[in-house]
Every structure is written in structure tokens, then in C-alpha cells.
């Protein structure tokens, strides 16, 4: 346990030293600039625009940090050979992967929480009344990023090129938002083979629409059971990706 905590701590610090905070600074500039711009262009809808735009940018920045962070997370250590002195310790390889993943996740979550705080403060200056649904949608953005970090880590361990891992992860991100469209395709598929292929595809890709509360922001009385199921789904999907990553890494030669 001490060993895993040590890896989490070191990975967290490594991400900060890799200037993950630049994402936060860039976000600050973007959100302030857009606030000034929309304040002038659409004064009636200013709060709504800042609200939607801010959450969308937080999600996008979180995704970029997650994908690039996760893809280089282990490969960088293999290339720099720093991994030799870690894997030659009495440490199961799975502990290393879990520690690295959690360390990266903590760093991304921390940067997203800072972005969220900046966003919240800006909204407060615009006579916005805080709503519970804001925090729910923010929480689910974090869960989405957790899922995508696990997906990116898995691809980085199975693919030989960083570019391929990044492309696959973004591909999964896009497909994850088109679950209902894929289901529609399934209904239209007459060939049983195509239907199986689509079903398999649907099963493998993360259902990110299930976690997308940003677009349902304005709906009053969100179903708590559904929220719980969605949170559970994200944890199960992430765990499955991590388990696969551990299995792949256990057979990886360095």
C-alpha cells in the first residue's frame, strides 16, 4: 500500500512538473475573454453562455490532459528507462499501473477542480444563483475524464505508437457520444453478422452519453437512481480498462 501511495504521489508531482497547470491558466484566459465577448454580444444570455461554454471547455481541457498524460504515462518511463529501477523492486506490476493511473487522475482532477472554481467565481460575479445540477454535471465530467484516462492508458499499452493511441482514444471519445445513433444502426441492420458486430462495438465503447449531464443541466429533478447507476457504470468501465491494462503490462517486456 505504501508503495502504491508513493507512486501516486510521485506521478502527481510529475504531472505538475510537466506543467499541467498551464491548462488551468489557459482556461482562465479563455473563460475571461469569452465572458467579456459574450457580455457585449448577448447581454441577456450571458450567464447561460458562460455556464455552458465553461463546462464544455473544462471537459475538453480535461480530456486533452487525460489523453496526452495517459498515453505518455508508461511509455515515457520505458523510453527514459526510469522504469528499470521500479520494476526490479518487489512490486507487482499491477500496483505500478494502478499507482500511475491514480496519480495522473488526481493531478487532472485537481486541475479540473481549479478550473471549476474559477468558472464558479466568474458565474458568481454575474448574478448567477448556484444550482445543485451544476455540481452534478461537473462531477460527471470528472467521471467521464476518469473513463477516458483509463481508455487512453489501455491503448498506450497495447499500441506501439503514441499517435495511434491518441487517435484510438479520441475515436472512442467520439463513438462514446453516439451510443443512441449506434443503437439506431443496430435496429436497421438486417444482416445478423453486422448486428453482432454493432452490438460488440456498442458493448466495448464507453457510453459517455450516459454520463453527459452537462446537456441535461436545465432539467429539474434529476433521477438519483439514474445518477447512481451512471456513476457505478463509470467505475465499472474504468476498472475493466485498468484490469486489461494490468494484464497487458504484466506480459510487457521492457
Amino acid at each position: 500500500m505504501n508503495a502504491v501511495l508513493s507512486i501516486i504521489r510521485y506521478t502527481f508531482l510529475q504531472q505538475l512538473r510537466n506543467r499541467l497547470y498551464l491548462v488551468v491558466i489557459l482556461f482562465g484566459f479563455l473563460i475571461l475573454a469569452s465572458s467579456l465577448l459574450f457580455g457585449a454580444l448577448a447581454p441577456d444570455q450571458e450567464v447561460r453562455v458562460i455556464l455552458d461554454l465553461g463546462l464544455a471547455i473544462i471537459e475538453l481541457f480535461g480530456l486533452v490532459a487525460a489523453v496526452f498524460g495517459a498515453v505518455t504515462l508508461v511509455l515515457e518511463e520505458i523510453e527514459s528507462r526510469t522504469i528499470y529501477l521500479i520494476l526490479t523492486r518487489p512490486l507487482p506490476r499491477g500496483y505500478y499501473i494502478v499507482g500511475r493511473f491514480l496519480g495522473l487522475l488526481c493531478a487532472i482532477a485537481a486541475s479540473m477542480i481549479v478550473m471549476g472554481a474559477l468558472h464558479f467565481i466568474l458565474l458568481q460575479t454575474k448574478t448567477w444563483n448556484p444550482e445543485m445540477s451544476y455540481f452534478i454535471s461537473f462531477g460527471f465530467i470528472l467521471l467521464k475524464i476518469m473513463v477516458m484516462t483509463a481508455v487512453a492508458l489501455f491503448f498506450s499499452l497495447t499500441s506501439t505508437s503514441s499517435i495511434a493511441s491518441i487517435v484510438f482514444t479520441f475515436f472512442f471519445w467520439i463513438l462514446g457520444h453516439f451510443g443512441s445513433e449506434i443503437k439506431f444502426l443496430l435496429q436497421k441492420a438486417h444482416n445478423p453478422m453486422s448486428a453482432y458486430a454493432i452490438k460488440a462495438f456498442l458493448f466495448v465503447t464507453p457510453n459517455l452519453e450516459f454520463l453527459n449531464y452537462r446537456d441535461l443541466f436545465h432539467i429539474p429533478g434529476l433521477d438519483s437512481r439514474q445518477l447512481l447507476m451512471a456513476a457505478g457504470y463509470s467505475v465499472v468501465y474504468t476498472s475493466a480498462c485498468l484490469a486489461l491494462s494490468v494484464a497487458v503490462f504484466s506480459r510487457k517486456e521492457v
Binding site: 512538473r17 529501477l85 506490476r93 517486456e253 521492457v254
Partner: protein
């Protein structure tokens, strides 16, 4: 040279000592696939070896002979194609096998922004050392490698020799019973080489088993009890340094003869 042989006799090896490291028909074949074509190359082949407690075993061979492949297979960084590796009777594939192993790679790569002390704290935690004993042990090993005054400096400021010393410190940190060094004197200046040699002898005197590889015959001769000559993935000969000295065998000539014969065989 006489002086160095005398040093080798400090500890006489006994065959009744327990086996610390055992290789049984170890073979590692590298496979690379590209566009459906698979290329294979031999790393090491059918290597069987027993290293006993308190022994210093030196592995010597030309570049690409399989020294690093052998060491990586022992440490579980590479997986054997066939054969077994056991450390203290535990298969090398299990992480527990590395509990009593300290490793120094040819070039120790560290996190450049961490200080020497932070690096050692990190590795100490990974080795399962208790928080209570770790700080004192870090001070102790830094003192042993004469790096105490540089403990707070980031690793990026260190010279190659200083990095090698920190590398040694991390290898000794958890007080392992067997030390595995890959080219420990590689890239060091003559003073650094001498210090490394003296430290290895001192570690062996304190009961540590050492398995190391080197390019330098004279260095291997000065610290090893037995020397294994590896060429093209095979250990061609294992010689007791003491016996070689008694019978007047010149290790350098023997090594060159074995390598030359191997090359001739390859040409034929």
C-alpha cells in the same frame, strides 16, 4: 596483477553454501513482427548456472553477447522463451523473488528533478521499507557512497560518476542479499572504477552475493571468484579465478581465444 589475485582470495568459495541464484536452461529469443513478417534473434541460449551465497560471479563478453539480456531475464524485465530462473528458490517471474535483490543498471536513469534523498525515499517505499527505518538507512547508504553532502541536490545536476554512486546507494538501500550490477564501472573514471571495485569487495566481505557483467577482464579478475565468458548468447566457459591463477591460465588470452574461435566458426 599479483596483488589483485591476492584480493580475490579474501573469501574462498565453498560448494556447500546455499544456492542464491539458479538459471536452468535459460533461453531468450527475441521476436519482432513487422507487416506480417516475424524476425527472430537469439538473446541467450541454454544457460544453466548456480551462484552460491557469498560468491562474486563476473560475466564477461563482447558487445551484444547477451550480458544485459541475461541480467534482464534474471530481474523479470524480460521473460524467458524457455527455461527457468530462480532467486532464493522463487521463480523470477514473481515479484517476491526481488525482495532480496539490489540492481544497478549500466546507466542508472533517475527522475531528474528529484533530489538524491527523494529518489532513495521513493525506492525505499517501493522496496517495502518501513517509514521508521528509512531515513536512517538513506543517510547510511549515502555516506557509504560518499554522497551525503549532495543529498538535497536534484539529480539533473549530477555527473555520471555521481549518478552511478546514487545508483549504488539505491541498490544497497534495502540491504539485499544479492546484488546484480550491469557494467558497474562503465563510464567511470579510473578513481571511480577503483572506488567501485573496493566497494564491491567490501560488500562481498560483509556477506553479499554479487553477480555482475563487465567488458573489462582486469576488473572482473580483481573482484570475482568465478568468471563466465559469454559469446553469442552462450556461456562458453566458467573459470575459477583462483584455479586460473594456480594453473597459470591468462584470462585475457583465454577470453580472446574463445571469442576468436567463435567468430571463425561463424565465418565457416
Amino acid at each position: 596483477m599479483q596483488n589483485s589475485f591476492r584480493k580475490c582470495k579474501i573469501i574462498r568459495m565453498a560448494n556447500d553454501k546455499p544456492v542464491v541464484l539458479e538459471l536452468d536452461n535459460l533461453t531468450k529469443i527475441y521476436r519482432k513482427s513487422h507487416l506480417g513478417r516475424t524476425q527472430t534473434s537469439r538473446g541467450v541460449e541454454n544457460i544453466s548456472l548456480k551462484i552460491r551465497e557469498g560468491e562474486v560471479f563476473g560475466l564477461i563478453g563482447p558487445n551484444g553477447a547477451g550480458k544485459t539480456t541475461l541480467i534482464k531475464s534474471i530481474l523479470g524485465l524480460l521473460f524467458p522463451t524457455s527455461g527457468d530462473v530462480k532467486i532464493f528458490g522463487i521463480p523470477a517471474s514473481q515479484s517476491d523473488a526481488r525482495k532480496r535483490v539490489g540492481f544497478l543498471p549500466e546507466v542508472p536513469y533517475f527522475y531528474r528533478y528529484l533530489s538524491a534523498k527523494e529518489v532513495l525515499e521513493f525506492y525505499g517505499n517501493l522496496s517495502g521499507m518501513s517509514r521508521a527505518t528509512l531515513p536512517a538507512r538513506i543517510e547510511e547508504v549515502l555516506k557509504m557512497v560518499r554522497m551525503s553532502e549532495h543529498a538535497a541536490r536534484p539529480m539533473r545536476e549530477f555527473s555520471k560518476g555521481m549518478l552511478q554512486r546514487v545508483g549504488l546507494a539505491q541498490a544497497m538501500l534495502h540491504n539485499p542479499d544479492i546484488l546484480i550490477f550491469d557494467e558497474p564501472a562503465g563510464g567511470l573514471d579510473p578513481i571511480g572504477i577503483r572506488e567501485m571495485r573496493e566497494l564491491m569487495i567490501a560488500l562481498n566481505k560483509s556477506g553479499k552475493t554479487i553477480f555482475f557483467s563487465s567488458h573489462s577482464i582486469s576488473e572482473i579478475e580483481k573482484v570475482s571468484h568465478r568468471v563466465g565468458i559469454i559469446v553469442r548468447g552462450n556461456i562458453k566457459q566458467i573459470i575459477s579465478v583462483e584455479e586460473a591463477h594456480k594453473t597459470g591460465i591468462n584470462l585475457e588470452e583465454l577470453f580472446i581465444k574463445i571469442v576468436t574461435d567463435e567468430m571463425k566458426g561463424e565465418v565457416k
